[in-house]
Every structure is written in C-alpha cells, then in structure tokens.
C-alpha cells in the first residue's frame, strides 16, 4: 500500500498556516529536565520527506511518552498545535493534543528517507497538492501517512481549530508598535517579551502583609484564553496601578511580565508557570474578544454541600433570600478590625446556606430585591453544620449574566414554589442566636410537643406570639454599674452598693430589666424571660427611665405595661432544662424580639397550609 506523503507540511506549520490535523511520524523523543517541574519532551518528527526537531510536547501529554505509546517510529495525528516564536527568531511547535494512530511496533520502521528540514531553504511549492511518487522504501503498512480529515490531502483555508489563537496575530499596543499575540499555553520563562489576549476569570481582593522583612500588598487574577489558563499576581505598585483597572470577566491584552514556576499550593490553575507583573507590564482592554471562554463555574447544589468535606473549595449560586447587617469584629491575632456580613443563599434544592462575606465586599453588599449571587471558590466550613466562607481568592458576582442565574430567578419569581418554599438551613443545625429569618419556626404547641430543650443542649426556635401578660413586680433589679458586669448588687444601706463579682462597692447602680412575659399563639402559651434588650423593646422604654418612673410616677409606670400588652412579635427563644434544688424545669429565654414580618409569615403559613392539605 503506498501512501501519500505530505511534503511542505513543516513549512506550512512554521509559517503559521492552519494545517488540518497533520499526520506525522515520530523519529525520536528526548526528555529535557526542567529543574523543579515535570520533564518536557522534545520530539523529532518526520513527514516522510523531512525531519524537524522543533516540536515540544505539552506537559499534559507527557504520559503518552512515559507509557511508551508515543515513541520512536510511531505514527501520530496532531490535532492541536501552537507555533511559538523564540527571541532568536526560531520557531517551536508545541503539541497540544495528538492521537497515536499506530504504535511503533505496528509501524516497524522509519518511513522514507527524510532529510533534516532546513528552515532557511524555501522549497518550491506546487500549486496543487502533491501526490508524491512512492518512497524509496515501500513497506506494507496498515495505515498510510496522509492528512486526516477530508479525503483530499490539501492545505485548507484557515480551519476552525483555533480560531484566532494559533497564528500569531498582530495587535497595536498603546505605544503604536505591533506586538504578536501568543497563546497562554506557550508562555514560558525563557521569553520576556510576549503579549497575550485573555479574559480575567477570577480576581482576588487586595491582600496586605507585614512581617519582619517588610510589608506589601498583592492581588491575583486568573486568565483564560483558548489555549489554556494561567495565574498572574501584581505586587505593591503594580497592585495599586492595576487593581482598579482590571475587571472580572473582561478581556485585555497583557504584555510583558515575569514567568516563573507556579506554586501549585496556592492555586488550582492548570499551568506550570505563573505570571508576575513588573514595572514593564502593560494591560490594555481588548474589544474584539467574543471568542474567548468566559468565567467557568462548576456549581454545587446547596443540598449537596451537606456531603461536601469541610475546607473544600466550591462554586455555588443561589438567591439571596435574606442577609444580615454588616458587623465589625476584631481579629485577635493582629488586633485589626474587619467587617463581616452573613448572607443566606437558597437554591432550587430548597436548602439554605449561610455565606460569610468579609471586608469591602461585606460593607458594600446590597442584598435588596433578593439578588442572585454566584460565588466562585468559596470554602466550606462545618460551622453550624455546613457554611461557606468567602476567601480573598474567591469571586462573588451579584446577578451574573449566566443561564444558571436566569433559571434561578425564573424559578424564584414565577414558579410559585420558589417563593413559598419552606427552606431549611444547613448552616443552622443547632440554631444559634438571632439568626436570619429562615431558622426553624415552631408554634408554641409544636415546641412543647416536640420536647424542645429536654436534651442536654439548649434548643432554639422562632415563633410568632402575642404578649398576654407581664409580671410588673420584680421586673427590674439593681445591677453593678460596671460596663460588662450585670450582677445584682447588694444595698449596703449606707449609700453604697456592693458587687460580689467585681469585689467592689459603688455609690450607684444601673437598673436592668428581667421581665417574665407570657406569650401565646393559637394553641398554647409559654412563659419567657426577657432580659434587657428584649424587655426594653417590648416595653418601649429604657430600663433607666422605667426605674425612675417606678419611683416617681406609678401610674405612668403601669401605663407602659398596659400599652405593651397584647402586642404580637417574632420571638427567638432558647429553651433548656434547668435543675434548681432538685427540681427540673424547662426555662425559656427570649434571645431576640422583633416586629413580625408579615410577608414572610404569610408565606410560611400558606406553605404550611398547602403542605398539610396535601397530606390529607
């Protein structure tokens, strides 16, 4: 069986023409050590007429050599390749994807008598594709060395293999000089002048550090083009310069930077190298970039998070059903104040998860109108069951322009299930203090019949209840005036009050409320102790003012209680079995009292009614 050789294919490849999946024979492979990274394989290829050694195997194909599938004499079809120009003008062909059509054993030997290809020699190219005469060493072979694809071995007009990324294309940089755009996959430390055209798929926050060697700041981004991805970091001045300019999901021309071996510990990006911006780096917006892939998310459903091991990094998307106010906490380690905010996300699985935002993101967050939030790279924690923490390397997008976001919004707004769904939070297993509006709602009847509070730990639940009685007598006590101490002081009867806990005497005290309230709903009632904040909210007056009223104006004091009676609120209640003098009793405390959110309450009621109706 004769074969059709394919002369001039090397010339075509080297000149950046699109060659459809050339079939070549491997003459030899050679490993090149690279120090810390995986070895790189250099391949000597033959097209039947010439040999060319300018081929480098992309590292993801290393296993082909190591498993001896790609070895001397085998025939392979190159599906994807990139031509890279070195500083000295030489060209290197990076093999990105190839199939071994016939292994070395099957082929037997070198086909033809190929001569080393000399790039300098420009050979006469026939106008029509050449169907060469049989080689000097005809051999019986099962296959034939021919171009794959369409039957006629022709040079094709630029195919769709790469779009624009394969052949170096020119781009005008601000300086007016033309630079060639190269693919990300071809970047290596041996080139300092390069330009890539890439989309920013992740942008981290600015992080600062301060240690014995000095201090500084940095931020990192991830870039993607059709050939691959790479991480880039800007430090100090470059961080200041580029952080405001570079936007997530936009495409830019990046020119010149340092390439070094990637520290795989910090990133999951698939590239042996990563970029560090230098003072020579330039970043220019690129307008014509529709062909570049956009931010890749790999969303996990919120209910699946329950089975996700803690510390995993995940992408999630959900409707922000509710969110809390931003709070400031002090990090003990460096005594710095940091802002934080919890937001609650829900998806079609009906499960709700709490995600914590930090810093600027927490401060600037606007959760009005229940936006869709997508988070890339959040860390799963086991706080309260399962929660999410947004890291500096995570990306948070509000109302992203993506099909998943539209689907979620559609489900939430139009599918009646969306808004009425009684979602359970996976972040609230034990129900901590004053959580968002989606913790476990119970009626007082359910709380009693389910024996909440009778285990060894306290139970928490929320309910809507109406105040039907308050104990006015002994609703206040005299407490230690110190900032953080609320212990009852002993009246020494000499104008001084003693606090046992602080071991001090004071000339004064502060009034603190401890109000025993009976709340009721349609089926049950419950005694609940309300401390300072809750009591002040219910009574609508401060403890200090009430103390004065009690002493000076009994009638006004009574009126406060009358006005407070028969009001309905949302209570967050903590119940626990307490033993006192051999007697065990369930004690209920109000952790938080809030006005009823009637919309949410109605939705819950409607959902419950529908559910109960279905149960028959």
């Amino acid at each position: 069986v004769s074969y059709v050789s394919f002369p001039f294919v090397f010339q075509a490849i080297m000149q950046g023409e699109n060659v459809t999946k050339p079939v070549l024979q491997v003459v030899n492979t050679r490993a090149i050590a690279t120090g810390t990274g995986p070895p790189r394989y250099r391949v000597l290829m033959s097209d039947g007429v010439n040999t060319l050694s300018s081929f480098m195997l992309a590292t993801q194909l290393n296993p082909l050599v190591e498993q001896e599938r790609l070895s001397a004499r085998c025939i392979c079809q190159v599906n994807r390749f990139i031509v890279n120009s070195l500083k000295d003008g030489r060209r290197v062909v990076i093999l990105m994807d190839l199939n071994v059509l016939q292994t070395a054993d099957e082929v037997g030997g070198l086909i033809g008598n190929p001569q080393p290809y000399n790039e300098g020699e420009w050979q006469q190219r026939p106008a029509a594709p050449a169907a060469n005469p049989a080689p000097s060493k005809p051999q019986q072979q099962n296959g034939s060395l021919a171009a794959a694809g369409p039957a006629a071995p022709k040079y094709h007009a630029p195919s769709n293999q790469f779009g624009k990324a394969s052949a170096p294309s020119a781009v005008k940089t601000p300086g007016g000089s033309q630079a060639k755009v190269v693919p990300i996959a071809s970047l290596n430390p041996y080139q300092s002048k390069w330009t890539i055209c890439a989309r920013v798929t992740q942008k981290g926050q600015i992080r600062t550090w301060s240690n014995s060697r000095g201090e500084g700041k940095l931020f990192s981004i991830e870039l993607v083009d059709e050939s691959g991805e790479i991480r880039a970091t800007a430090f100090n001045d470059q961080a200041d310069k580029f952080f405001p300019l570079i936007e997530l999901n936009k495409v830019y021309y990046f020119t010149k930077g340092n390439l070094k071996t990637a520290n795989k510990q910090y990133t999951a990006v698939k590239n042996d190298y990563e970029i560090t911006f230098t003072s020579e780096t330039s970043v220019v917006p690129c307008d014509d970039a529709q062909h570049l892939p956009s931010v890749q998310f790999d969303f996990v459903s919120i209910s699946d998070l329950e089975n996700t091991p803690k510390d995993s990094i995940v992408d999630v998307i959900g409707i922000c059903k509710s969110y809390e106010d931003v709070t400031k906490i002090t990090v003990k380690a460096n005594n710095r104040e940091v802002s934080k905010r919890n937001v609650h996300l829900m998806d079609t699985s009906g499960k709700l998860v709490t995600a914590t935002l930090w810093g600027n993101e927490a401060e600037q967050f606007d959760g009005s109108r229940q936006p869709v939030i997508a988070i890339k790279g959040a860390r799963v924690s086991d706080f309260g069951g399962r929660s999410l923490s947004v890291l500096s390397s995570s990306t948070v997008i509000i109302n992203p322009d993506s099909p998943e976001a539209f689907k979620l919004r559609g489900w939430y707004e139009f599918d009646s299930e969306g808004q009425l769904l009684e979602c359970t939070s996976i972040s609230d297993v034990r129900g901590g203090p004053a959580a968002g509006a989606n913790t476990n709602w119970k009626t007082l009847f359910e709380a009693k019949s389910e024996n909440l509070g009778q285990g060894d730990k306290a139970d928490y639940f929320s309910c809507v209840g109406t105040i039907v009685h308050m104990r006015k007598e002994n609703c206040m006590y005299q407490a230690c005036p110190s900032q953080d101490c609320n212990k009852k002081v002993i009246d020494q009867q000499n104008g001084l009050y003693r606090c046992e806990k602080c071991d001090r005497e004071f000339p004064n005290f502060k009034y603190r409320l401890m109000l025993l309230v009976t709340i009721a709903d349609c089926l049950e009632y419950q005694w609940v102790t309300c401390f300072q904040e809750s009591a002040e909210f219910i009574l609508g007056q401060s403890a200090a003012f009430l103390g004065e009223l009690k002493e000076k104006n009994e009638q006004a004091f009574e009126e406060v209680f009358q006005n407070a009676n028969f009001n309905t609120y949302e209570f967050r209640i903590r119940v626990k079995l307490e033993t006192y003098n051999d007697e065990s009793r369930i004690k209920a405390t109000a952790m938080d009292v809030k006005p009823v959110n009637y919309r949410e309450y109605s939705k819950r009621l409607i959902a419950n009614i529908r559910r109960n109706a279905q149960l028959g």
């Binding site: 009637y598 919309r599 109605s602 409607i606 009614i609 529908r610």
Partner: protein
C-alpha cells in the same frame, strides 16, 4: 346600601366577581387609571386582571397605590363602591401577589374561613 357594613362581605379576587353579582364584597387592588370624571377607576390585581370600580359621587381626593374597596357587584361585574381605604405603603410595601395567594386559600377552605 348603608347597611353594607353590617353584613358579611367576602374578600374576592377579580376571577370571582361573576359569582358574586348583586352581593357585597371586599376587593383589594392597585389603582391603574382614574376616569377624568372621577366617578370611575380601574384596579389591577397584580396578576394581570383589571376590575372597574364605580362611585355614586366623584372622588374628592387623589387616590393611588393599593386600595381596599367595599361595595356591591353590579350586573356588569363591576363594583359599585360604598367605601374605600387607601393602604399605607410607607413602612413596607403591600405584596399583592401574596394577597392573591391568600385569597385562593380562604376560598379553598371555607370551613376554616367562614363568612358570616
């Protein structure tokens, strides 16, 4: 018609006007248009249906937003308004769609929500 406040007046949605012709009802909707004579206005129910409300005397004030009308359903399935109340939405907006959901329920379970 002055006795309309002494009798039960079920809350209905636009789809139930036909079943309540001649009867007193309570209807909630959002003001869409007011006729220049002030004797007629149109309320929407938030899910695309409009209902016409007629008055015996023209309006003497601007109305807008959510209104609750008590009146009798006419043969033309409009409502002859006896009295109305404007809902205040300054503290929190009124969720008309949720109201429609609630309406469905009270009519599905008349044994739990009897009228009179």
């Amino acid at each position: 018609m002055g006795d309309i406040h002494e009798v039960p007046r079920p809350r209905i949605g636009a789809g139930q006007l036909a079943q309540h012709i001649g009867k007193p009802v309570c209807f909630v909707g959002r003001v869409e248009k007011i006729h220049p004579t002030g004797k007629l206005f149109v309320l929407s129910d938030g899910v695309g249906r409009n209902t016409t409300v007629e008055l015996s005397e023209p309006l003497d004030e601007e109305i807008s937003g959510i209104i609750e009308v008590v009146g009798r359903v006419t043969n033309q399935a409009t409502i002859m308004c006896v009295s109305y109340v404007q809902f205040r939405e300054d503290k929190s907006p009124f969720d008309l769609e949720l109201y429609n959901e609630a309406l469905k329920i009270i009519h599905e379970f008349p044994e739990y929500f009897p009228f009179g």
